[in-house]
Symmetry: C2
Subunit: 252 residues, 2 copies
């Protein structure tokens, strides 16, 4: 089975690495910017191009681009017997336009180019327009990870929404923590042990059981003190108020 | 140097373990509930009591109780030449009432009894009413961790506030993620790799540089889709809206 990757961003980088680690043959990399295609291709000894017309036949084409590029790019893939799959959490399988076998392979992770990631723990969510394609994509994903799930476009959107809460929004709260400790002349690293333990804990504990802090224990005195500290930071104060209220409503 | 611990909750449990691991002698445990004092004392072969009058002389008394108990409890410690330190992030050193040497030793971590914790990475924040007490408490903390900081009561409150954002609020967002994936019939564990990587990432990356997601990339289409998915969940929707708006304001 040969794979070609369209796109050269964070997801593409990690897919290429995951495939190479698992001896899956990556045939070609396409990116509209030749520099970026070259960077990914040369680092991994893979042919690359910025000319979509030079795309060679492969068994599977994986589109790992921005969501907006999926439609136009997929239209230009001229291999009716190949599988074309995008990697987007939010885009429906219908965004693939063209005459080929359609599917989705969505890895649920936050990817930064320079981070080492354990691919075998990343959940891959698969969708396909028929059982044969589904099986092929599942088999491909199973070479990379033991967590492979079938999921349709509607449900995939919900998973992506969950990811926004536990990753993007959480990261923003880390930023607020950073601001607050640095304001007191302390390095952000003083929060690291706490951040890691909070994340590790929920491997064993349901987060609703693991909830601690002034909101859940109804400690109005501490809450009032915190709101006063936030008086000159209206954005942080609004977030504190809303999350505290939400926790209190949840637990009463 | 002998230490006695007042309180038998999560913080007390972990302080006792941290001390035993570092061959610091724990002399006695006091708790108003005998059962709880016994549980902690017997597990660690330490004398225990529920009678404050039976408190024996030690070099340092550490009050690891609820904030509200600090005042009353500290008043009853009859050893003027001993150090008495509380462990609270939010309580000022002034909450210690009584005739003894006053200090604070605040470990910044979320403690659950059954979790294994690496004590040498936990920051301990120390405050004391004079340099001699400060030195003694710093030396005690340094036996447990390499991260010891001096910090006054006002600044400690800010650090505690930061902890509420990166721990309590983050944990609540994990709960929202759990609700959303379980709604689609998937186990919470599908989010674990993402949660851990989000937490690990900020060891290397500034969270403001690590920020990803629809809000920071101005992906209004996905945001609108997410808000629609949240239509019948007003609490989650309000949080999504506020955090998205805050991220967008921060990055523009």
């Amino acid at each position: 089975m040969t794979i070609s990757i369209l796109g050269s961003g964070n997801v593409a980088h990690h897919l290429v690495r995951a495939m190479i680690q698992n001896t899956i043959q990556v045939k070609q990399i396409y990116n509209r910017s030749l520099d970026k295609a070259a960077e990914l291709g040369e680092a991994n000894h893979i042919e690359y191009t910025d000319d979509i017309k030079k795309l060679q036949r492969a068994d599977v084409f994986i589109i790992a681009t921005a969501d907006d590029a999926i439609e136009e790019l997929s239209q230009q893939i001229p291999f009716p017997d190949a599988i074309v799959a995008h990697t987007s959490g939010t885009s429906s399988i219908e965004r693939l336009k063209g005459n080929f076998k359609k599917g989705v392979i969505y890895p649920l992770q936050t990817f930064s180019k320079d981070r080492y990631v354990k691919y075998d723990e990343i959940p891959f969510f698969i969708e396909a327009e028929n059982p044969e394609i589904l099986k092929a994509l599942k088999n491909l994903a199973k070479k990379i990870t033991h967590r492979v799930y079938e999921l349709n476009s509607e449900k995939r959107k919900e998973i992506h929404l969950a990811a926004v809460f536990v990753c993007n929004f959480v990261n923003y709260l880390y930023g607020i923590g950073k601001d607050l400790v640095e304001k007191e002349g302390l390095p952000f690293s003083v929060l690291q042990a706490l951040i890691l333990e909070t994340a590790e804990k929920i491997k064993e504990l349901n987060p609703y059981e693991a909830q601690t802090g002034p909101a859940v224990r109804g400690d109005e005195k501490t809450i009032a003190q915190h709101l006063e500290l936030l008086n000159d930071m209206p954005r942080k104060k609004a977030i504190y108020e809303l999350l505290t209220k939400s926790i209190q409503e949840k637990y009463t």
